[in-house]
């Protein structure tokens, strides 16, 4: 699995000396202290650290959900490289919608829409698929995550694990090359969590690049590569050194 990183190709996403400082009424707090990171196509990257280490902050820098204080984030998804940190909110939304699927611990499905409609929503907003096409595609995705028989139910009527599958299907709606997941198994029991993890492994096998945040050290061996983060700094691990070569 380690060989899935390609030292010869350009990184898909590259963080250069990224610093994030929060300003709050309590004062300044630097959550990321100069992060350098390359993520290559086809990787299943685990970002592992304790609560408060800065994992979510790091993900927000990659997805452009939050603005960095210093440094650069360059993504080579699509035809041209994109400087994520220079995009405005609207361009970011469109770029993110087409190139990244995002999965949160708390599923974040819209409660009034059916599962099918939830999956169709990104296609509707980004306009990459014809409406009829998008319905067919959403059904396919629900089939892939094994929820198709519930397609017309509302999120409240299925279990947490099933909701997370729908969230993953939604993340894949616009067929983005990258999937970003922030503690996707955090609120699930261990059996269900395992199913989700297996789903990720299958997606990686199909060629997706997945970045997943977790605080469970036990999951470490199952990633193609992992990095450890503590107090806003990366702890250099043997695997990381290996791929960096």
């Amino acid at each position: 699995m380690l060989s899935s990183a390609h030292p010869s190709t350009l990184p898909l996403i590259e963080l250069r000396n990224v610093v994030k400082t929060y300003l709050s009424e309590a004062g300044e707090f630097t959550a990321l202290k100069g992060i350098n990171l390359q993520i290559y196509p086809g990787e299943f990257l685990g970002i592992i650290g304790k609560s408060g280490a800065g994992k979510s902050t790091l993900l927000n820098m990659i997805t452009g959900v939050d603005h960095l204080t210093q440094g650069e984030v360059i993504a080579r998804i699509g035809s041209q490289p994109t400087s994520v940190h220079t995009l405005n909110e609207n361009d970011l939304a469109l770029w993110r919608g087409r190139s990244m699927g995002i999965v949160y611990q708390s599923f974040q499905l819209l409660p009034m829409l059916t599962l099918l409609e939830n999956v169709m929503l990104p296609m509707d907003l980004c306009g990459l698929y014809h409406p009829r096409e998008s319905r067919r595609r959403a059904l396919e995705l629900l089939e892939m995550v094994e929820i198709a028989e519930h397609a017309n139910k509302l999120p409240a009527f299925i279990s947490g694990g099933q909701q997370q599958r729908v969230a993953i299907a939604r993340a894949l709606a616009n067929d983005p090359p990258v999937l970003v997941a922030d503690e996707p198994t955090g609120s699930l029991d261990s059996v269900t969590a395992d199913h989700i993890f297996e789903l990720f492994e299958r997606l990686v096998a199909q060629g997706k690049t997945i970045i997943m945040v977790t605080h469970e050290m036990a999951l470490m061996p199952r990633f193609s590569r992992h990095i450890l983060i503590q107090d806003g700094e990366l702890i250099v691990s043997p695997a990381a050194t290996l791929t960096k070569n």
Binding site: G97, Q108, M112, L113
Partner: protein, 810 residues
Amino acid sequence: MRPRWRKVLLDLFENPTRTLLVVFSIAVGVFSIGVIAGAYVIIENDMSASYAANRPANIELRMDDFDRDFLPVIENAPQIAEVEPRRVFNIRARAANSQAWTTLDIVAIEDFDENQLNLLTPLQGQPKPARREVVIEREVLKDIDIRVGEDLVFQLPDGSEKTLKVVGIVQDPTTGADDFLAPPFAYITMDTLPTLRQPDLFNRIYATVEGNGNDPEYIRRVTADLKDRVEKNGVAVRRTRSALTNQHPLASTVNAILGILLALGVLIVFLSSSLIANTLAALLNQHLRHIGVMKLVGGRDRQVFAMYLVMILSFGLLALALAVPFGGIGAYALAEFIASQLSFNLLGYRIVPLAFIIQIAVGILVPLIAGFGPVINGSRISVLNAISGELANETGGASSPGAKRETLFERFENAVNTALLRRGIHLPRPLLISLRNTFRRKRRLALTLFTLTMGGAIFVGVFNVRTTLFAYMDNVGRYFVADVTLDFSRPYRLSEIEQVARQVPGVEYVEGWAFASAEILYPDGTVAENLVVLAPPANSRLVDAQPVAGRWVQAGDTKAIAITEGILRSFPNLKPGDYLDVKVRGQQDRWLVVGLFKFIDREGLIAYGTYEYFSRETNLANRSVSFRVVTDRHDEAYQRAMSEKLDKHFREAGYQISQARPGLSALNNATESLDILVIFLLIMALLTAIVGAMGLTGTMGMNVLERTREIGIMRAIGAVDSEIMRMVIVEGMVIGLISWVLGLFLSIPITYGLSLIVSLAVFETPIDVVFTPLGYLIWLGLVILLSVLASVLPARNAARLTIREVLAYE
């Protein structure tokens, strides 16, 4: 349907109470604007059209009797086009099967086929009576229950009775259009006059002018010239009246009243828009997480913006669907009501395009404008803020990390608390929580208070205006102290009438008055105003006068008058002590103005002089044609009974009595029309109060919804249902009471403004404002009731939540 539009659709039904609240608040505004704008257009058009269609005379002269030979004097007068002579006289009538007498004005017309002016609109039966037949105006039906084909019994001056058959019912929209106190009309031909013991003579002229019939200045000049000409030819003119061809005499009054209603309608729209803004801001706040998710999966600002814009438009369309039909019906109902009050016809039910357009514009634009701010704020929010919860610029919500500064209110509250504690007073904790909750959402509170305060202030203001109007009428009533007014067809000696009147038990006091009519002249000799001088004895007990400047007339005054303030229209600088040039019975004279008083100047001005002087001037010393009687009781029913008794008594004693009127009836008629106006104002005030209450309901609902988690925690630590409900209701009442206190102040300028507009419209003069505690007390009760009602539903919802539901809420 695409998912995002499905979301918009489902959001509309997600919280039906909220949707209804927004839809109703838009609908109330649209409805009131629709009703008023529609009625305005219909009346503006139909009132004058219906009036003009009946070819109103420009000039009316009330004269002494004249015969056909005199007509050429008028017909050949310069600038006079058509002329029609009539005989109009007072008579008492009843239905054949009833004993209740009613006074009618009989109009005798020479030839109904040649009738050119003040046309009659046929309603039922024959519009043209033959000899010994009568046609009645529809107003008669209000006083006498009679049908076409039945007989009307008339009482002649000598007490005998004559019967005429009613052959038709007509409407006469022009004759007496500006005098809603006049008795109803009935029409006969000249050859029926002998039957009613009336001479075959005319006493009235109706005429139109040549050229522009809509130039008031020109018509007045022609009228004055015609009057001069008639008097020079030996016939006295008692009274003149002029009117425009294309404008109902009361059009400006009605328009002014509709204008006030329109202003209130606009205010309601304004208030409802602040309600809409409030609700939408809360809705967007509740939808932040949804917006965050949509942005996360690729939604851009304008897509989110468009979604919520469509939502607002849907609110507007729903409101329009509700309000436009009712608005159209209401407009016609209001117009019809006003038309029936003023006796003109509407041209039929119709949709007023202008009102329709205005309603659509209000229904679409008002929510768009009100919702624009919240929606822009909501759709511009960043994903991070949206997912983590709060609109960046809304203060006082869930606190961001870090110690917050103490707000001004918290400091105030702490100070009050410590002060109370030092005196050993403990405010109960739930009350404290209610108080603190009230002030958590400052902007929302401000908007709610604004709406409720406005509603209350207008409500209170209307009550004050009502009291102001009635106080003014009371003031006018001081000049109507007599219980019965007796008018005779010829003069009688004072002592004689007094003696005969006293034979009727209940009569306490009798006074004979003199009258004079005059024209007030400008220095250049042209006529400025028509004046009627009432001349009671100098020591009269029947005028409780309160001059606003100078003094009242007194014994020893000769060519001296106290005159109504209406004179200031023509002579703005007139002061007591000044002289007025007048023309009395063709003679120029100068009268001293000793004082000014307030009165309703509807037709010409009124002045008071002394009987002692004016009776000699009119060659009626110690005699009079008009007497005022005071009886031992003063209610209207008794006055009416005494009028009948006196009338009968004098007739039986062989006196030529023409009329016996209860004193209060004229005043009550006038007060009645004021009541109608007040009812309209109250309806508008209630609408504003309802908008205010809806605002409060919305606010309480939003407050409770946002505090669901908190309420759950309170229940988890042992608060019971009733405590939670009480907390919410007390919060609602605190808001209600604050708005009441603010309303105390705001009602002052509103009262002054409304009174000024109304009094200018109705009395054509500003009147003194009177405040009444009544409105404040009623509003206090109402606002407490409304705020309890407004918070009961949210409070029940809050109490119903289970701990599990509440803690799961996000």
